[in-house]
């Protein structure tokens, strides 16, 4: 009786319709690129019949997972250090590193007016300002750099709260637990409410966001196709729509 049922189950599983010739790639995505990545993944699936499965996190956290054998095949970082490091340490495919986007930093508030961000930061009339963890998230490092350049970091240090990724930093602002915060422009560019200040580029080093094909994905058609797809005009248009720069020199 049990055997029959098992056989029946096995038959059902085997008979389940499988999409023809399609492969799936696992992609680790820096949190700031979440929305853009989803849109690109959808466009990619439509175009190629391949699927990508996205995992989001802080760049540093994702990289640690890569070094510990996480089953990712492509890594979209928020910096230009870790993908290069991945190649150097033997996790990435040589020659596959390229800049897919240049990240832009924004100061954002759900309630206060921060359109003149510099003045708001210098006035410092708020309790909490949220940033991403500068050690693991490049946007957090850029936020610290900006405050340092403006000469307000020492004064604001005691008001800084950290999210583990730029996603949590944004969440702290959005829920009102922090009045304002440094987030990725991509997170708030489509926001209906709130106010923002696009941090001038001369206040922080450009956030070159590099992608790398990991060795685990070298033989996966979906992974290589996704990397190629990122370089197409269609993907670039989506990336630009979220406020990213496209040229590493920009």
């Amino acid at each position: 009786m049990r055997i029959t049922r098992l056989a029946l189950l096995a038959g059902l599983v085997l008979a389940a319709p499988l999409p023809a010739f399609a492969d799936t790639a696992s992609v680790a995505v820096a949190a700031n690129f979440t929305e853009a990545a989803k849109e690109i993944a959808a466009a990619f699936a439509e175009k190629t019949d391949h699927e990508v499965q996205l995992s989001f996190g802080a760049t540093g956290a994702l990289y640690t997972q890569v070094t510990q054998g996480a089953p990712f095949q492509v890594f979209l970082a928020a910096d230009d250090e870790r993908p290069t490091l991945a190649v150097k340490e033997g996790y990435g495919v040589e020659g596959s590193v390229f800049t897919y986007a240049v990240g832009k930093l924004a100061l954002y508030s759900a309630s206060a007016d921060v359109t003149d961000g510099e003045a708001a930061l210098k006035a410092g009339s708020f309790d909490k300002i949220s940033i991403a963890n500068p050690e693991t998230a490049p946007y957090g490092a850029a936020a610290v750099e900006t405050m340092e350049k403006l000469g307000v970091y020492e004064a604001l240090k005691g008001k800084v709260v950290q999210g583990q990724s730029i996603a949590q930093a944004f969440q702290f602002v959005e829920t009102g637990n922090a009045e304002l915060g440094f987030v990725a422009l991509a997170q708030v560019i489509n926001a209906a409410a709130g106010s923002r200040w696009d941090v001038p580029q001369d206040l922080y080093e450009p956030i070159g966001q590099d992608a790398v094909l990991l060795k685990t994905g070298a033989d996966n058609p979906a992974a290589t196709a996704f990397v190629d797809f990122l370089k197409t005009d269609e993907a670039k248009a989506i990336i630009a729509r979220y406020g990213y720069g496209l040229d590493a020199g920009a």
């Binding site: 909490k128 709260v161 950290q162 583990q164 702290f172 637990n177």
Partner: protein, 225 residues
């Protein structure tokens, strides 16, 4: 040890958090455990269930609700400080909720194990209920209270998910041990992660051993009595 350093600071903060939390847990847990053990009220099971909820709920659920409850639309707004998240006080509040079942359950068990008899005797001797609680209940339940305190303390030290969601990673304020270890791992500083993790391992072993010893002694004492 250097209590200003990254590691020392996290250890000190964690000990402070666990100590304050444990004191509050006893303050709330002893009367609550007493009531749960002795009441005949119909609310008993409901209250007991509420207390036990953190055993089952994912820390993310607690963290999420706490973030809202402590924020501008909750307690923070009520007290005009915007939010209690990202503060030591906020963590204490969260820790008390999170560790409540670990403190209350052994205390309740101890009061229940004491049975009706000693209190009937106390009543016969004209002890007021408060007097019976203080001079009969508390001494009888001492091993359970001790176990509750140790478990509450240890569970607060071991807290991670809730702090990750409402802490904001502020050194000296909310960056506790477990968060520091997380950060060390994520930034590939594994030497520090190893030191702290090994320390936690020894600590956890000592705690569980202590609880077993307390438990055995209490049982032996009861069997001998």
């Amino acid at each position: 040890m250097d209590f200003d350093g990254e590691i020392g600071g996290a250890i000190l903060l964690t000990l402070q958090l666990a100590t304050v939390t444990t004191l509050l847990l006893l303050l709330v847990g002893i009367p609550l455990g007493w009531w749960l053990a002795r009441t005949k009220s119909r609310a008993k099971e409901v209250v007991g269930t509420l207390v036990a909820l953190p055993l089952v709920l994912p820390p993310t659920v607690l963290g999420f609700y706490l973030l809202v409850a402590l924020g501008p639309d909750g307690l923070g707004g009520l007290f005009g400080v915007r939010t209690f998240a990202f503060t030591f006080e906020g963590l204490v509040f969260g820790s008390v909720v999170f560790s409540l079942p670990f403190a209350v359950q052994p205390i309740r068990d101890a009061f229940e194990a004491a049975g009706e008899r000693p209190f009937e005797v106390a009543a016969t001797l004209r002890a007021s209920p408060l007097d019976a609680f203080l001079s009969v209940g508390l001494p009888l339940a001492r091993p359970g209270i001790l176990t509750g305190a140790v478990l509450g303390f240890a569970h607060t030290v071991g807290e991670f998910g809730v702090v990750l969601m409402i802490g904001g990673n502020i050194p000296g304020e909310t960056k506790v041990l477990s968060i520091a270890i997380f950060d060390f791992v994520e930034t590939l500083r594994w030497r520090e992660a190893h030191i702290l993790s090994a320390g936690m391992l020894v600590f956890a072993f000592a705690v569980i051993l202590t609880v077993s010893v307390i438990d055995r002694r209490a049982r032996r004492a009861r069997a001998g009595a």
